[in-house]
């Protein structure tokens, strides 16, 4: 495995850990909120699946697209760290954009489905 392969593997492991963390942190609250707002179990399932699908696609797409072109054979440890960090910057940026759009989506959902007293 070349230097590029190592960098992609390291980025992939970090991406999977990040996905598990985000999912664990947000899913329970999101599930309760969606059940309360929609009142339709398939809708809760749809939005939870949408959430997972979107974060998985965006994060893994960023890992795939990272170039790591700066790494040459015999690169030092910190050069690997910097290269992976550059890839992670794009990953966090895309994840943040997706989470903001998803938050906007849930806000629209809450505003349009709020129960009238």
């Amino acid at each position: 495995m070349g230097p590029h392969g190592f960098a992609v593997l390291a980025s992939f492991v970090i991406a999977v850990l990040l996905l598990i963390l985000v999912d664990r942190l947000l899913r329970p609250g999101l599930c309760g909120l969606l059940e309360d707002v929609t009142g339709l179990p398939p809708a809760t399932e749809f939005y939870l699946r949408t959430f997972l699908l979107v974060i998985v696609l965006v994060v893994l797409a960023t890992v795939l697209g990272a170039q790591h072109a700066d790494l040459k054979d015999g690169a030092h440890f910190m050069e690997y760290v910097w290269s992976v960090a550059t890839g992670l910057q794009d990953m966090f940026q895309n994840l943040m954009i997706v989470l903001l759009v998803y938050a906007a989506l849930i806000t629209v959902l809450m505003a349009s489905l709020r129960r009238k007293p």
């Binding site: 965006v58 797409a61 997706v98 998803y102």
Partner: protein, 130 residues
């Protein structure tokens, strides 16, 4: 395998994988979406389901097609010589396919909000008639 064969095979394999990615996303969302569409739209739910499948497949193919080998002012001969460039373009095609599918899924999330509002209104009207 010569580089030219690799170029041809990898292009079509990545295109196929992109399409499969779109269809996989559809299969994840299919069941809950069908239930929502049926509750809100009745018989018209089938049309919405087909539209979801089509739009996710199109998004995947669009992402794949949005990356071109010829963008970096390289000629065909230069592209064929450079296998690492081919791999880079293949990865970019998969990345764009993933991004476009994610974008389409989020867009469908907004459409489902409208479907749920329709379902809620329908339910309220049925309640007031009873």
């Amino acid at each position: 395998m010569s580089n030219e064969h690799y170029l041809i095979v990898s292009y079509f394999v990545v295109g196929f994988v992109s399409l499969c990615l779109g269809l996989a996303a559809y299969s994840v969302l299919r069941r809950p979406f069908a239930a929502i569409a049926e509750a809100a739209g009745g018989l018209r739910g089938a049309v919405l389901k087909r539209t979801l499948a089509l739009s996710l497949a199109l998004a995947a193919v669009l992402g794949f097609l949005s990356v071109s080998y010829l963008d970096c002012n390289k000629g065909y001969d230069e592209i064929v010589k450079d296998r690492s460039y081919m791999n880079q373009i293949n990865r970019e095609q998969l990345q764009q396919a993933g991004n476009w599918i994610a974008f389409a899924v989020l867009a469908w999330g907004f459409i489902v909000v409208i479907l749920l509002a329709v379902w809620r209104r329908k339910k309220q009207q049925e309640g007031s008639l009873e």
